[in-house]
Symmetry: C2
Subunit: 337 residues, 2 copies
DNA sequence: TTGTAGGCGTTATCAG
DNA sequence: CTGATAACGCCTACAA
């Protein structure tokens, strides 16, 4: 009645038996070899169809000694603008290169480590590993890639032995601060993202550095949590700062909150205060392109990580790529009045 | 000088030779079998460490006849709120169940089909397939899952032979329309999402159905493209409609645009016009929880798709699961004044 | 044009 | 407690 529980998969040998040829001939047909008589080939194809033959990935890759697959470990979930676009970039590059992505989410583990991830992923169908980091991990410096398993880390930090690719978070701060100072602002205030986030911390540090280098007064930073609501709160405080004419906000949701709070407090944007965000995540959302922002090309970051990992083993000094962001100037910035 | 290009991977046999035991004993150590003398086990572990042994996924799954992996085909990119959360739900469920995700992006192909995707993925390390559909495909009805490869389709539509899981888009429209009519509105206007999107089209159709069932006048729908800018345009037109006191907008970005346009035109929200969006994608973004919206649990959709696919082959009628959305009531809706 | 042999790395099974 | 054998499905190399 019910179909038999077909545990074993249909193999070349099964097809061969059905078609009355050898397994080798079937293999040749599968690969479109011209060295098979058309009639034989036809018979084989029919048998394949009838039996529902599918090539075995396991057997092929055992034979080939490689998978044409790269492992991707997302260390803290895939949600979030940056992660999503990185994953998309990696997936597209992989597909174009005829590779497949073996995806693992480490978000549920509370303190994931690189070595732990490498150990777990070493037993998966992967020719190389990409680690996407958005927070710090305990064994970052100490990690060494397993032999024969090239590893690329997506992070703005350099690693002693593994190539890395990341957004130039400090450069982003430098760009924004430089532009606002060039417009004539005395200094630039900062609203940081959630503590513990590498992006938030690096942008914060870069902002300090940039102001320091220019010999400008460094105001106290305000810590947000990436949400618009936390931006609003920060904006309310900034509205009471007398010297505040320019604010650099670590993402666009908070920047939107800052703008709204400033306006609610009677300060005009950009006439009284300039505001710049990061990520350019709201350009499709806000009806009017309102908030200046630094756009990062996270798809490109993902793509480069993939390309680096399939390029294979590295000798000597690993490469550290920082992809710069682009400041999109919009109506929320102006010279101080 | 340079390390030898280690093409062949380190096998159990290599470790066995190094430790002076048989491959079988090494295998036992790898699996923590108690039937190995502690001293032998220690010797084996040292050899493994020294040689950098990693188990071969290919050999293991060839032996086992299965992969503990499910294939996920994203038919049109992974970007977008819904896709991202679905992928996250699938990835989490997979990781928890000790499975791995084999991800393929079909976004670059111009007219992907289910059968094409199944053919390509049939040769990958997968025990089952999940197809995430956000647009229509030509062979939806005609598709039949390959033997031994259970397939679950993520879509709001039923399929003759494959189980499906999806958001209840029509129910979403029904809920919103019902609520707005219950508040006393004469009818409900609609701003639809990009044409060709299954979600947009189903919400539109559901809106028509719901109004029709209530015997209420069905106004002409306005077609947007998901962006806030298109919402603003729609809102400008709606502000000129005399009978328009309630608008159901197919996502939150457009809803934001509608609200802004209405206000710019001098109409108050919600006193003059109520506005409801879908996706609840801006609750972390807008400083004040302003826009009522229907929240879908796309993580749950992903999770159920995964669970269904690992449950294995189906007999008889396939199940079609529609996960309902929840209307989050916020200050953008009120009875007509 | 077609077929046979061998081995990729692992593990269940049975023998010692 | 340890080892030998065979088989999973495929493909390169060689033979007929």
């Amino acid at each position: 009645m019910a179909e038999r529980n077909q545990r074993r998969s249909v193999s070349l040998a099964d097809v061969a038996r059905e078609a009355g040829v050898s397994a080798q001939t079937v293999s040749r047909v599968v690969h479109g070899s011209s060295a098979v008589q058309p009639r034989t080939a036809e018979r084989v194809r029919e048998a394949m169809e009838r039996l529902g033959y599918r090539p075995s990935f396991a057997a092929r890759s055992l034979r080939a000694g490689r998978y044409r697959a790269v492992g991707l470990a997302m260390f803290s979930g895939i949600t979030g603008t940056a992660n999503m676009y990185r994953l998309d970039g990696i997936a597209r590059a992989a597909t174009e290169a005829g590779h497949v992505l073996t995806l693992v989410e480490l978000g549920s583990e509370k303190r994931p480590t690189l070595s732990g991830a490498a150990e777990a992923m070493g037993a998966l169908p992967v020719d190389g590993l990409i680690f996407n980091l958005t927070r710090r991990v305990a064994d970052f410096e100490a990690y060494r890639a397993p032999a024969g398993l090239p590893t690329v880390i997506v992070t703005p930090f350099a690693h002693p032995t593994c190539p890395t690719v990341g957004n130039d978070e400090r450069g982003c701060s430098r760009t924004v601060v430089g532009r606002l100072l060039a417009l004539g602002h005395e200094t630039v205030f900062h609203v940081a993202g959630a503590s513990g986030s590498v992006a938030a911390d690096e942008r914060l540090e870069g902002w300090r550095e940039a102001l320091g280098e220019e010999g400008v007064d460094v105001p106290e930073a305000i810590r947000g949590d990436w949400t618009g609501a936390s931006g609003y709160e920060a904006g309310s405080r900034l509205a009471r700062e007398p010297g505040c004419t320019a604010v650099y906000v670590s993402n666009d949701a908070m920047a939107l909150g800052v703008v709204e709070a400033l306006r609610d407090a009677g300060r005009r944007v950009p006439e009284d205060v300039s505001v710049v965000g990061v990520d350019d995540s709201l350009s499709q959302v806000l009806p009017h392109d309102a908030i200046a922002s630094v756009r990062f090309d996270n798809r490109a970051v993902g793509r480069r990580a993939f390309e680096r990992v399939v390029a294979g083993a590295f000798d000597g000094e690993p490469e550290h790529v920082l992809v710069p962001g682009t400041l999109i100037e919009r109506a929320s910035i102006a010279p101080p009045s």
